[in-house]
Symmetry: C2
Subunit: 246 residues, 2 copies
Amino acid sequence: MEKFKELSEEAWQLYLLHVSIDCVVFGFHDFTLKVLLLKGLHDDSWALPGGYIGNEEDIDDSAIRTLKERTGAENIYLEQFRAFGSPNRSEHYFSEFPDTLWHKQRFVTIGYYALVDYTLVLPKPDSISSSCEWKDIENLPSLIMDHKYIIDQALTTLRMQLSHKPIGYSLLPDKFTMPELQKLYEIILGKKLNRGNFYRKMMGYDILDKLDESRKSGGAHKSPNLYRFNKEKYENALSNGLKESW
Amino acid sequence: MEKFKELSEEAWQLYLLHVSIDCVVFGFHDFTLKVLLLKGLHDDSWALPGGYIGNEEDIDDSAIRTLKERTGAENIYLEQFRAFGSPNRSEHYFSEFPDTLWHKQRFVTIGYYALVDYTLVLPKPDSISSSCEWKDIENLPSLIMDHKYIIDQALTTLRMQLSHKPIGYSLLPDKFTMPELQKLYEIILGKKLNRGNFYRKMMGYDILDKLDESRKSGGAHKSPNLYRFNKEKYENALSNGLKESW
DNA sequence: ACAAAAGTGTTTGGATTACACCCATGA
DNA sequence: TCATGGGTGTAATCCAAACACTTTTGT
């Protein structure tokens, strides 16, 4: 409570009133899609990492800034996807706070989704949160305000843009295996894909470099080959879209 | 100038500071795609119809409100597509006005695009504009601030969503001809389409009702048949997407 | 030997592309 | 009769889906 009031003072000076940003940070690990969430200091609800916009700051830069603070990572793939502006988005949420509290004002929030390499991120809570963790998209905890809705919208956008944006490139580590790539596509699209066809299709796009290494996994199996996106080819291919007709 | 100051007074009371909306209103007429623009009282630059958000108003409702004021039409197809938040979007534009002027504050604007039946719209200027007119998308006049950029972004979004949103349905009058429909698609996609294939594809979707009328055009040609979208079928078809693979 | 990974083959069906042809019709 | 619109035919091609078979390889 005191923490909020303390931050409120300077927020009124530093930031644009009525505009906030929220980031849906996607990561891929252990064959599941994850979202970075913050847990409040006082309650058990979770929230999206977000922030406010400096008086002279570009909104994209504001998103980049929070991303960097929360993940430690730079050059994160970031895409604005939607503004959320219901007048009662935060209703009840700050009811026990004074009306002069910054956070209690009405905010139109601009939603960004970010795609990060899970292995390069070190989650860090912000000053009003007790922890910052990856949460499985299939098993989200209870979220504040309309944050669940914002995540759903981000996921829908992600699905629609899978063939038009460098999504695989941004979510996977530098080196990855074909089964990992396929699982990522299956999770985003929400359905199983045929292995052989997926392999052929991906190779047909000519956007992957096959490496001379393989990953020693623990199991009693053949160790899978490692691949890497060929950045130039990938981006060139995406500029035309990986498919589509008309 | 006085007009601005007069409006400014009440704006500070009625609206959310720092958030505005701008609408890119598309219409289709004479085989060309058009955008509804407003001309300022004092200069020769044109602007998108837009407005501010009431203290207790939903952002979508704010867009609906301006649309209705500018076009007289209701139930307009509306889609939010992007927020624009560069800190210097309006730089220089209000430089000769006092700093307390509402319009001179920094605004993050939320872009909407609207699709209207050209024949049902009666353009009406707002209180700070001298006129409100349809302008050909291929031949836009000089625009204020970043409004040209906003239109370009709206058009890009429109193109991407052609197969997923009821775009033809919203842009054409109730009754239309096959060549009109094809031209609309060609303009949005920016390329020629094969006539026979287009005809078959459209009819194959089973979303058009063929009418027993034809349009008497002036020329020495066969008068084209009229068609109408079958609303139920169209929306049902779009919910699955008119194509796509994966 | 077993299980996962890699790579390829094949068949089927559908959709797209690109033409081309014929008919209708209004001035 | 000419230009446009309406409607269909067709062959080439490409792609996706589904399935199956083989080989490789780490334990």
